[in-house]
Amino acid sequence: MNKLKTVIKNNKRELILKSPLIGASGTYGYTDEFEDFIDLNCLGAISTKGITLEARSGNEGDRIFETECGLINRIGLENVGIKKFISDKLPILKQKNIDFLLNIAGSSIEDYERLADIAQQNSIKAIEVNVSCPNVKSGCIEFGLNPDSLFNLTSKIRKNYKGFLIVKLSPNTSDITSLANAVESAGADCISAINTLRGLGVDIKRIGNKFIKKTVQGGLSGKCVKPVALYMVNAIKKSVNIPVIAMGGISSLGDLLEFLAVGADAFQIGTANFINPKICTTLAMELKKYIEENNFQDFEDLKTKIKGA
């Protein structure tokens, strides 16, 4: 019996995974890129690199900035585009039996509708919607920061896609619960949180008699965001009934338990994959050991009991 079997469900749909540990979008590639390090069949799933309608070449200039206990990135959604994903990557995922969430991103509602439609046509089991993208048509304000536009976007995706719909929320808001309520009432099956926090890395040096400044503005991730993520997951769980896949600075068994205690149903691991490419399976083994040593039936049993704490 698989003690890590994970059931992520609401009253309409469910997603069953082999383990609650999911490789977060942007840190796990498209398919089998981590195969040299771990047995991908032991992974709950990978969330694919964010896929857009057309291929994108990403941002110019520096894309990575290391901070004291985290990382700022501004990759700019470089990806192969949905067409190539379906033709080149999907067959590998299927052939190797790798469970995945298709992470999608767009710059207009039509982009998302079209991507949802393609996912539906290709019988993709689960999609995760990145709503931290600027809506080009309405002045480049992120879709995910306004409850009305987020409701509208999620409803349109829901209409075209009948599989398990996860919306990944941005933490760059003063009111996470309104956003969570909006996606729930628009018919999303699950929320994943949090995406990266806006951050700025500054490198200032004095060379000769001149200051040389370099800045990298992008999304902050890693250990330093964990308290923010815990706060957000806790607040979301208090306001919605759909499940939450938690992420934000997770790198240890203790972190998993903390997120479970505030209501998480599964986890995504992001930045920590760069430190330890085996982290997802290492944590799965530690979690299994914890379940056995503390006489829980399985992960679902642990989840239920820890939530009552």
Partner: protein, 245 residues
């Protein structure tokens, strides 16, 4: 590419800020131009280092050498390791130099000499005629192993003459981007091949995060390539250099 536990076999100060670190591990093979990434205490990101030497000592055991120049806390941590300390390395990463059997000029600017020392060893083994020129900012920075050295000034200034004198057909180089850009352009002008080992801040080191990309042009098509997986060695003719540098 795998994760290995490396044991510090030897550690030796080469200059005031550069240390030669010899790591014993089960790494099976490595080629010049490839690199490793090392986990450093209390740092989010692993640090990439060109492999400066590699030698199998017995079955399942090898020694690999990196040169660590102190730039910040990660490199400081590595410089202070002691013999028998253990570190986590990912290796071997990237594609190395593609060796051609032609008169070769090797250029190492600053700490960029690290992969050149390994390349020179590989070329010597194959009896390929080669000449290594190194450039350093001042006397304090000198790392030995070159055939010729430029102290202060630019190593690039000497190259055109050297290429002609020695009838060079290919240039291999590693160093700061601005130096590589000049070398790439010079080789293009002289119509000889160049292979340049590039560097950028890296996050994953294995090609998934797209954090360390450059633009390249192959068969008239422009695309992005990751330094860590598609490189770090690129043909000088392929690289599209960022302007304003």
């Amino acid at each position: 590419m795998k994760e290995y536990t490396g044991k510090i076999y030897n550690i030796e100060k080469l200059t005031h800020d550069t240390t030669k670190v010899v790591i014993e591990s089960a790494l099976d093979s490595a080629h010049s131009g490839q690199f490793i990434s090392v986990l450093c205490e209390n740092r989010t990101l692993r640090r990439p280092f060109s492999i400066s030497d590699f030698e199998k000592i017995e079955n399942n055991k090898s020694l690999l050498t990196i040169l660590v120049k102190i730039k910040g806390k990660g490199t400081e941590f590595l410089s202070n390791l002691k013999i028998n300390d253990e570190i986590s390395i990912l290796a071997p990463l990237g594609n190395g130099f593609s060796i051609k059997e032609e008169a070769s000029l090797l250029v190492g600017a600053g700490i960029g000499i690290a992969p050149m020392l390994f390349l020179k060893k590989e070329l010597n083994k194959q009896n390929i005629n080669n000449y290594l020129i190194a450039g350093f900012r001042d006397d304090k920075e000198i790392i030995k192993g070159y055939d010729e050295v430029t102290i202060g000034g630019s190593v690039v200034d000497r190259l055109e003459d050297l290429i002609k004198e020695k009838n060079i057909k290919i240039v291999y180089a590693c160093g700061p981007e601005i130096v590589l850009k000049l070398i790439g352009k010079l080789c293009k002008k002289l119509n000889i091949k160049s292979q340049l080992a590039m560097e950028k801040v890296m996050a994953c080191g294995i090609g998934v995060c797209r954090g360390c990309v450059i633009k390249i042009k192959k068969n008239e098509t422009i695309s992005t390539a990751s330094i860590c997986k598609d490189g770090p060695v690129f043909s000088g003719n392929e690289i599209i250099w960022e302007e304003n540098e």
